[in-house]
């Protein structure tokens, strides 16, 4: 099931600004026809050297942050190309939520549609959170979607915004297609009224 209700997990701090989707998943890996396996290519140029070996300094492969389900990022995360491979690869890698200072529009929406929860928090909070986790990566963060609340390791609670419609979809695991197809009669009536039926 895709539904997202609550999540308690460790996090990986990657406090960079303007991480574009080319960095999340470089275009040369877009030639697949399935979503599975994209996690291995996530942040490829940050993680792998020219020989295709994992770099020693790769945060994403360090044992310290193994099993993290929350990514912590900076400003304007996910800018650039609209490729949905970005949320897919993040999810396939194991992330279920991203806490950032801000998100690029298209990425934000793509993430929600793929049941990856983007959470925007104030800059000072995100910075402090990243430092705390950096010092002790075993600390967990709890996300409660129904309450729109994040509980940080120091028990500080922060409210986050999410569109009411998207929130319901996430909580119920309801995707857009099921939602829209439930309105098929209206769609057919619209087509009929405007002569947009298939008699072309």
């Amino acid at each position: 099931m895709n539904a997202f209700t609550t999540l308690t997990a460790t996090a990986l701090p990657f406090l960079k600004d303007d991480i574009d989707t080319d960095q999340i998943i470089p275009a040369r890996f877009l030639t697949g026809t399935t979503k599975a396996g994209l996690g291995a290519k996530l942040f490829y140029d940050w993680r792998y050297d020219d020989q295709g070996q994992i770099k020693a300094e790769s945060l994403f492969d360090s044992t310290r942050f193994q099993g993290s389900q929350i990514l912590i990022a900076g400003h304007n995360f996910g800018c650039g190309s609209s490729r949905e491979h970005a949320p897919w690869s993040l999810k396939d890698f194991g992330f279920r939520a991203i806490i950032a200072v801000s998100f690029a529009d298209i990425f934000y929406n793509n993430a929600l549609k793929n049941f990856l929860l983007p959470i925007a928090l104030p800059e000072a909070v995100v910075q402090h959170l990243a430092q705390t986790i950096e010092q002790d990566p075993s600390q967990t963060i709890t996300v409660n979607l129904a309450e729109q609340c994040v509980t940080l390791p120091n028990q500080e609670q922060h409210h986050f915004e999410i569109n009411a419609f998207r929130k319901t979809c996430l909580l119920e695991g309801l995707d857009d297609i099921a939602f829209v197809l439930a309105h098929l009669p209206q769609i057919e009536a619209y087509e009929k009224a405007l002569g947009k039926t298939a008699a072309l």
Binding site: A27, R28, T33, K113, V180, I187, L200
Partner: protein, 471 residues
């Protein structure tokens, strides 16, 4: 009398099928364009749900992103690309979708063939799984890029879930100075408002300088709206638009065309309608532009000096600048003109149309590309390729020492084997200068076609207005 509306509001209102309470609207989509990269997972999603494509008649497919631009009679070497193309062909066959593949006369970059075939029409809602779908807004259509889940949604329902956008007017008044093209106008706009300047908005470009642009120029302009963060960009249709569309294969024909034109003439922002945001610029302030950094907002006049730290106020902007200049191997405070170039790419959905190729050919005629420069000219579509060959442009390119390729996205996204080598500098007519966009470690300088051609000859970035006198 109903309240005055903007062009965007007119199109939006005409396409709302259902407004959910407190949520997005279900919006009807008139035309869906698909290509090999962002559609396979959508089709497999449909298959998993066991549902058909609802309106294959409103869906059109082409191959562009991952196809080689070299000899098409040879099999495709890259296995992943081959699988992707075969998957698209199979999906189109299975669902009865028209596919313009490399064997057809109409293959090309999705945003080039839509207008060229008359699939793009004023007042339509159009989507495609590619951010530069905003290109089609040049015809007064509401066109935007969508992700693969949305591709699946549109295939399944012919609708999209969308919240209305805010509206932004960008008015450019006056006469564009010599040497200034639509590409320079849009780079100038993005440098002014920033890469996030139009976030959440649909831009409508207005003013006498915009009206004076050809359809090709308007497409270049709308194409890069997304680089300012906009959802879409549009230009209200006028006689220039109608003249372009007349007799296009998928446009209404004969009397139906005249009736359509009457309807299309209504597609303009009413007097008294309000935009949420307004930007007013003077055409005379614009010069030929070039990017110096790692996003399209980092653009400057070709005659200016590379920005210095003190030109920016915030620490973040300063750090961003220094990181970008370091990557681009540029010196703050030095002229950007004169920067050595290794590769020139003339192509992409931004600048690969006849007008662009003519502008490049005019510069390259009877000249030679500098011996150390590799210059690629990639037409946007098979139709453009034929026309350029018939006009003798391809011969000019070949005589100058350029490579003349088959149509496709090519070095704009570098996923078909056409790549810029690490560290190399590329003067490119495409739309994105992100780190590694044209190949790992590639350094991209975005310019107009004429500026790219002049850079190819000089082997350096040059000012198109003065370069020959300085040569």
């Amino acid at each position: 009398m109903s309240a005055p509306k903007t062009l965007y509001e007119k199109i939006w209102d005409a396409h709302v099928v259902h407004q959910t309470e407190g949520g997005p609207a279900i919006v009807y989509i008139d035309r869906h364009l698909i290509h090999e990269v962002t559609s396979p997972q959508a089709f497999s999603g449909l298959a998993a749900r066991g549902i058909p494509v609802r309106r294959p008649d409103l869906t059109t497919a082409t191959e562009d992103h991952s196809i080689p631009t070299t000899d098409r009679s040879k099999p495709i070497e890259d296995e992943a690309a081959r699988t992707q193309l075969a998957t698209l062909a199979e999906n189109c066959r299975k669902h009865g979708i028209t596919l313009f593949d490399v064997a057809s006369n109409h293959q090309g970059i999705v945003h080039v063939i839509g207008p060229e075939l008359g699939l793009t029409q004023p007042g339509m809602t159009m989507v495609c799984g590619d951010s530069h779908t905003s290109t089609h807004g040049a015809f007064g259509a509401l066109a935007f890029g969508i992700g693969t889940s949305e591709v699946e949604l549109v295939l399944a329902s012919q609708c999209l879930l969308q919240a209305p956008s805010k509206t932004m007017e960008i008015r450019v008044e006056g006469t564009l100075p010599l040497g200034v093209t639509a590409k320079d106008v849009i780079l100038y706009i993005i440098s002014k408002i920033g890469v996030g300047g139009a976030t959440g908005h649909v831009i409508e470009y207005t003013g006498s300088a915009i009206r004076s642009l050809s359809m090709e120029g308007r497409m270049t302009l709308c194409n890069m709206s997304i680089e300012a963060g906009a959802r879409a960009g549009m230009v209200a249709p006028d006689e220039v638009t109608f003249a372009y569309l007349k007799d296009k294969p998928f446009a209404p024909q004969g009397e139906a065309f005249e009736t359509a034109c009457q309807r299309w003439r209504e597609l303009k922002t009413d007097v008294g309608a309000k935009y949420d945001t307004q930007v007013i610029l003077q055409a005379e302030d614009i010069e030929p532009m070039v990017t110096y950094g790692t996003h399209p907002g980092m653009a400057m006049k070709i005659s200016a000096m590379v920005p210095k730290k003190d030109d920016f106020n915030t620490l973040q902007e300063q750090e961003e600048l220094l990181a970008a200049l370091d990557y681009m191997k540029l010196e703050p405070g030095h002229p950007i003109a004169g920067t050595p170039i290794d590769v020139v790419f003339i192509g992409s959905c931004t600048n690969s149309r006849m007008e662009d190729l003519r502008a490049a050919a005019e510069v390259l005629a009877d000249k030679r590309v500098a011996s150390h420069v590799r210059a690629l000219v990639v037409p946007g579509s098979a139709e453009i390729k034929r026309q350029a060959e018939a006009e003798g442009l391809s011969q000019i390119f070949l005589d100058a020492g350029c490579e003349w390729r088959e149509p496709g996205c090519s070095m704009c996204i570098a996923m078909n084997g056409d790549v810029v080598a690490p560290g190399q500098a590329c003067a490119s007519t495409s739309n994105r200068n992100f780190k590694g966009r044209q190949g790992k470690g590639s350094r991209t300088f975005l310019v107009s076609p004429a500026m790219a051609a002049a850079a190819a000859i000089s082997g350096r970035l040059v000012d198109i207005r003065t370069w020959e006198t300085h040569a």
